[in-house]
Structure formats: C-alpha cells, structure tokens
Symmetry: C2
C-alpha cells in the first residue's frame, strides 16, 4: 500500500471511518461520548471492529486515560453486552465479594457461608484459575461430587433455601469485557485503572448483587504495585458503582506475601475449613472479618464495622459459619464426610521439605514465585485445557517476620506425579532470609465503605 | 478471563512474553534496542506476533515516538524483510524519486525520461492507485499496450539500453512495511513521522537507487498538514538515509491545490506529454525541475541547483526528454502513435462543464474533494479489484488566484459510464470563490540537498 493513504482512507472507508475516528480521538487524548464507547463495544462484539482496532484503542486508552464518565459508560456497555442475573425474587439484601487476585486467597470459601448466617444473601459466581492456583471453582472441586455449575434456576432456588450459592458462570455475563480482557492480556494493556475498574465492576453488576465489596490487592505479585494505584482503582470502582446505582465498598489488602499458609486446592479448602471453625491463619481470618463487616454495614445489617466484626467472629467461633458451609456443600451435592475426613479429598503422592539454608528472619515470600512453584507441581493450568492436580501445592511453615533455624522446614511441598525439582528451585528464589528481625507488613491497608440505600 | 491475569500472564506465556514486554516498553515511553525492533518485525512477518499486538505497538509508538536510531532500525528491518533490487551491474548513478502522495501529481512521468537524458539512470517502481486517481502504473496503462510489469531482468536490461524503467513492483520489496502499513491504515496510526519515514525510506532503499529525492507534500489533502510536520518528516528521512548509507534529499511542496490542471489517467498522461514538450502547467514544470535538479546535484552531475535546472529546462524545451519518453514507451511495448494522437487513449463519453456560480477569485481548490469527484466519475478504485475508467477525470480551468466570470467553466468533467451528479455536487464543496484577489500559494517550500559520496 502506498503512502497516499491518508487521502485514500478518507475516500475508501466510509464504513470503518467511525471506528478509526474513535481510535484517533483517544490517540490524541480526546474524551469520548457515550455513543462512541457504546459503538466501540457493540461493534467489537459483533466483529465489525477488528481485534487490531480494539487493541489500538486499548493502547491509546492506557496512555491517555479515561475519565469517570467514560469509565462508567464502558462499564455499562460491558454489562449491556450480556445477561444480568435477575435476583429480584429474593427477599433481603444480596451481597457479593470480589478480589483482584491473590496467591493463597481462599477468603471466598469462608465468606460465603459466614455472610449467609449474618443476615444477608450471598451470590458468588466464580471463575476457574488460569495459570496459577486460583479459581474458587477449582478449589471446590477438591470436595468430592461438589457440583460447581448451577443453572440460574438452581442458584435462585438455593439462595432462597440456604441463602448462599457458589457457582461457575453459566450465564454469559458481560461477554464484551471477556473479549476485551483477552486482548488486553496479550497486548500489554492490562494495568490501566479505568479498564480494570470497568472490567471488575461490570461483572459484579451483571451478577445482580446490591452491596459489593472489592478486595484490592496491592504489592508484590498483585495487579496494583503501589498503594497509590490501589487507592486510585478503589476510588474509581466506588465512583463507577455510585454512577450505576450499586454500593461498591473497597478494602485494600497486602499481597506482599501469600494469604494464609496453603497454596493448592485441597490444601486451601482445608485451611478454609479451619478458619470456618474459628481456627486457621490469622491473616485469612482478619481479611474475612474486614471484608464481611464492610458488607454487613454497607447492607445496613450492622451499625458499624466493629459490631459487624464481632458478630462475624462469633459466627466463626461458635461453628455457625461452618454449619452453613456444610449446608452449602450438601445443597451442591458435595460429600459431607470429606469435610470431616479431609483424606477423602485429592491427596499428594508425597511431601518434601524445603529447608532454610541458614538461620534468620523471613524477609521476602514472593507470592508470584511461590504460585509458580505450586503451578510447577501441577496445581496450575498452562492452558485452559490443562488438567490440574487438586492434591498438590505448598504449605508455608513460616511467614514474613518469622524466625527460622538453619535446616528447619520453610515450606512443605505436596508433590504429585510431576517432578518437584523445578518447584524446589523456584522456592529458592522466592524466599529471602534476613539476619536482623523483620516487621511483617500489615494486611489491611484501607477500608472505604459505601452505604447502600434500601 | 479473570482479573488475576497479571500474575497469569507472567506465568503462562513464556513465548509471548518477549513481544508483550516490547509493547509494554514502548507504552511506557521506553527506547527499543535494535534486537527488539528486529524481533517485532520478524515475528510480525512470520505471524508469531499477532496483528492486534502489532497495532498496540503502533499506537504506543504514535503516542510515545521513536528516536532516530529506532527509526533507522525499523527501516533496516523493513528492508531486510524482502529482496533488494541488485543494480550493481549498472554503470553510473541510479536515482529514484518518491512523492508522499498528491492529487494530479504526474511528475514521475516527466521526471523519468528527463533525468535519463541528463546523465543519470532512473529506476522507478511504482504502485497502483488505491482509492483516488493516483498510481503512475495505472496512468501508463492509458497508453495502449504499455507493459507495466517488468521482471527484474527486464528492468536491468532496459536501464542498460535506455537508462530508464518504470515498472510495477514485481519483486517483494520491504514486505514487512506493506504488512504494517495495512494495519496502520485501519487503526488510526498512519500519521506518525517516524513510521512514515521508515515506510518511505525502506521502499526506496530496497529499490536500489543511490540518490533519492522525496517530494513531501504539505497542506490540504496531504499527509503532512503543517509545514513543521513536513520539515520534521523530511529531516527524519534524510537522517535515516544517512544512517543507512543512501543520499536522500527532500523537497517540500504544496498540496493546497492539485498539481497541474488534470486529474484522471488519460488526462494526466496528456499533461505530462505537454510538459515533456516544454509546454504544460507551470507548477508541474517547476516541481519537475526542482526535484530533478536536486537529484542531479546530489548525484554529482551538476555543480549547483541553478545549473541543473537550466540543463533540465533545456531538455524539456528541445524535445530531448520527450524523445526519451518515446523510447521508454517503445521499450515497454506501448503504442507510440497514441502519444501523437491522444484520442487513441481511453476517452470519456462526454464532457460536462462545472460553471462558476458567481464571479470571483478562486480561493480554495480542495485537493481531497476534487480527487473524490474524479473517483466518483470512475477514475479511482473502491477496492483493489475495482476496475477503473482510464478515460474519465476532471480538468481544472482555473487554479487558486485565477479570476472567473459567473457562468464561466471552472472545471470540465470527463464523464464515462458513471453518473456525474455526485461528482458535480462534490465540486461545489471543493471550490470556493472570493470577491477579493487571492494570492496563490507558493509551490515549493523548501529544498534540502543531501550529497552522495561516490
């Protein structure tokens, strides 16, 4: 093609002109109209606008930004691209929780039953993990016969009967977001605050919940590398929620080290069960209480965060939450005895110790590298089709700030059919020790509550 | 896909990691290494890097820029993606000319024979026009039996026998540029000075000429809208040429109105023939003398531009250049009698006058809209496959600054099978008249000479 094309473009392409001028506008830092954003999203879904045009727009957007109005319009266009779960027949407040993604994060398994015994209904549509140990849905499959794919009717029925449901996404929620996300993932356009906000909020709105809490992870191995970015994302999500009539609260929590001690499917379910019984790791319990209390206040169930936390803690300690989890497992067909006898869940073939090379204080527990070690053992997917080994994973024996003797176990590797050598090597890079005491990072950085008007 | 993907991307995609990090680097305003640029271009050609990744990089590049080194590496990678015409067996200096694209620009038809009688060899590989009346190759097909597709061997033989050849691109020159250009065209990433420079210069280098002149059009209907942009593009092209060992000179010329009076294939050939006989429009002659003199000085044939211009003017006025054009037509199989009896070339069915609606001075002759009018008459392509009508087009009876009486002909429409109504309407928008005298814009704005070291 010749360089004459500026003229030619104008002459040749009346049909494509619209999308090219939309891309061009953002390239030059312009502000879109709602119509332009809707046109972009709708023609992307219909295929009229090509992937390479969407990705050019995405890059322009990452560099030039989107203002709050544009972000809201993008969010709404995502929501409108698919179905919205109709939960209007359910009485009471329906809440939902979302995390921007963390290693060892099994908070959903604890929160769903815990909230369901605290005066709200909980709907949780989760994804499968891709790449590292992750998806709540995958974790639940460690419970034999647990049925993860509920129909919309089953979700509704279960929420009416026991107040809670966890399911994979059977409905096509915000498919435009899914399509755009797949492109962002391979074009270096993932970490844009407005794009992340539109993606997160659109899914939550499509799920139908009235009060939503977002757990925004910050630090090593998280989407948001800095506190400022996490705060900006939190603020954008809250404001977009406000514009679209949903109460979105945010909690900023640290991903400087994995949450809890366990990474891997069976291992994480076990840790969640312990937490549901009032035991389990302190950080996991703390996070669940924070996220849960935000939702209870936001939903108008509790007058303030302290009272809400106290109420939730009681439900963990007195076994109520655990009992609700049993109901949930039972409702979704899972084997209840596996909760009592966890050896009925998928198991590793053997356990290998990763010892400390010297004595010292744990300084670094690189979440990303630890996740990678678990993946190398078979706990993560390489492609969507890769089978995962639910029985493998790692248990951290120490967290940041803990003292370890030379030769003492730092990590236990739960090894399956895959070789463990690479995972073992990976852990060497993941963990750094210090000769001097280390102060562990605080878990919860900031809580921003949005009230719901019912 | 879930929002967990920052982690996942790092874990999942070792193969794609490289291209994503390259895109990411430019997104954040980083400077590429030669290796990165070569990787991008090579994997784009091989298909490993997807179109949507290339377009994301293109957008990042449009916004963040490329420095001279990066632009040079990109140019070299384009050249290396295909063949380079081997003209080493030809004695003497080989020159080439390129225009960034103008309406009514038939300078190549004049310059090739004119230069060939002035001490240099001329190789001109041209494209076909897409969209508006344009390609030199299409214009030459107005001469019955003119053979436009020469093999490399035929080009070489003809340059040895008569010192000049004009051919369509039979060899795959800089195919990576072609591929990237096609994407730029539909992603609002056309007007980036480094990208245009790499595109233009790579094609010229692949053609094998030693001294090159670029005619950079500026103004209404041109790639470069402002003098500053045109100067920046000219400078970048000259410097990239220098880096790659080729002498690239630049001329900045106005595209505020079409060049000459004729737009359309037969019409433009006729105007070129007139110019080759020492007649023809003053602006076309002036531009040919400027571009030609730059090449003669650059090639070391003439000591300065004045002497070179005088020499070239003589060759137009004494019929030498016209005689060489006859040789060229004859060598490429064209009917010589059509040059004398131009009614043997494709003709319109009728001529319609576009009259002035009032008396006044021509103030605006919008090149783009006039080109569009010619296209509506059938002189331009809508797609690559559209047949064009070589006999149709328009002749401007007035240029900017000329006075016209109410009802007097402003334009003649050479109409073929297509309806002329739309074209007629288009001309109403293209031409504005003023009650007060208008000074015509100067044609040549700036000449920057690069010397060749032979």
């Amino acid at each position: 093609m010749s360089q004459k094309s500026r003229l030619e473009t104008a002459l040749l392409k009346p049909i494509k002109h619209n999308i090219i001028s939309i891309i061009d506008k953002k390239r030059r830092g312009g502000t879109h109209t709602e119509k332009e954003i809707r046109f972009l999203v709708e023609t992307m879904v219909s295929g009229e606008t090509a992937d390479y045009q969407v990705s050019a727009w995405l890059m322009a957007t990452c560099i030039q930004g989107l203002n709050l109005e544009e972000t809201t319009w993008l969010t709404r266009a995502f929501v409108d691209s698919g179905e919205v779960l109709d939960l209007s027949s359910i009485e009471g407040v329906i809440v939902d929780k979302h995390s921007t993604g963390g290693v060892g994060d099994k908070a959903t398994l604890v929160l769903v039953p815990l909230l369901a015994v605290s005066g709200v209904h909980v709907v949780k549509l989760s994804g499968r993990g891709l790449g590292f140990t992750g998806g709540t849905i995958d974790k639940l499959e460690a419970i034999p016969n647990f049925h993860v794919a509920l129909s919309n009717e089953e979700i509704l029925a279960q929420m009416k009967s026991i107040g809670a449901a966890i399911s994979s996404q059977t409905t096509d929620l915000a498919p435009a977001d899914g399509k755009m996300y797949a492109l962002r993932d391979v074009t270096a356009t993932v970490d844009s605050i407005p794009l992340i906000a539109a993606s997160v909020v659109s899914k939550k709105i499509a799920t139908g919940a009235q009060a939503i809490v977002l757990d925004i992870k910050v630090g090593r191995g998280a989407f948001m590398k800095t506190r400022e970015d996490a705060q900006a994302l939190a603020k954008t999500c809250r404001k977009v929620g406000q514009q679209l009539g949903r109460s979105i609260s945010t909690v900023i929590s640290s991903m400087d080290q994995p949450l809890g001690y366990s990474i891997g499917h069976t291992l994480e379910v076990i840790e969640a069960l312990e937490t549901l019984k009032g035991e389990g790791p302190g950080d996991l319990r703390e996070l669940c209480l924070k996220l849960g209390s935000v939702l209870l206040v936001s939903a108008g169930i509790s007058p303030n965060l302290e009272k809400a936390e106290a109420q939730l803690a009681t439900h963990l300690d007195d076994g109520t939450a655990y009992k609700k989890f049993q109901e949930l497992v039972s409702a979704q067909g899972g084997d209840l005895e596996a909760l009592e006898d966890t050896s009925l869940m998928p198991q590793p073939e053997r356990i290998r110790i990763f010892p400390a090379s010297k004595s010292g204080y744990v300084k670094t527990l690189d979440s990303l590298k630890i996740a990678q070690a678990a993946k190398l053992l078979g706990a993560g997917r390489t492609t969507k089709e890769t089978p995962i080994d639910l029985g493998v994973g790692v248990i951290l024996r120490k967290k940041i700030g803990d003292f370890v003797e030379a030769g003492e176990a730092l990590v236990e590797l739960f090894v399956g059919k895959k070789h463990d050598e690479e995972a073992f090597e990976q852990l060497k890079e993941a963990i750094l020790l210090s000769d001097t005491p280390v102060t562990p990072p605080p878990l919860v950085d900031e809580v921003s509550l949005s009230a719901t008007n019912f």
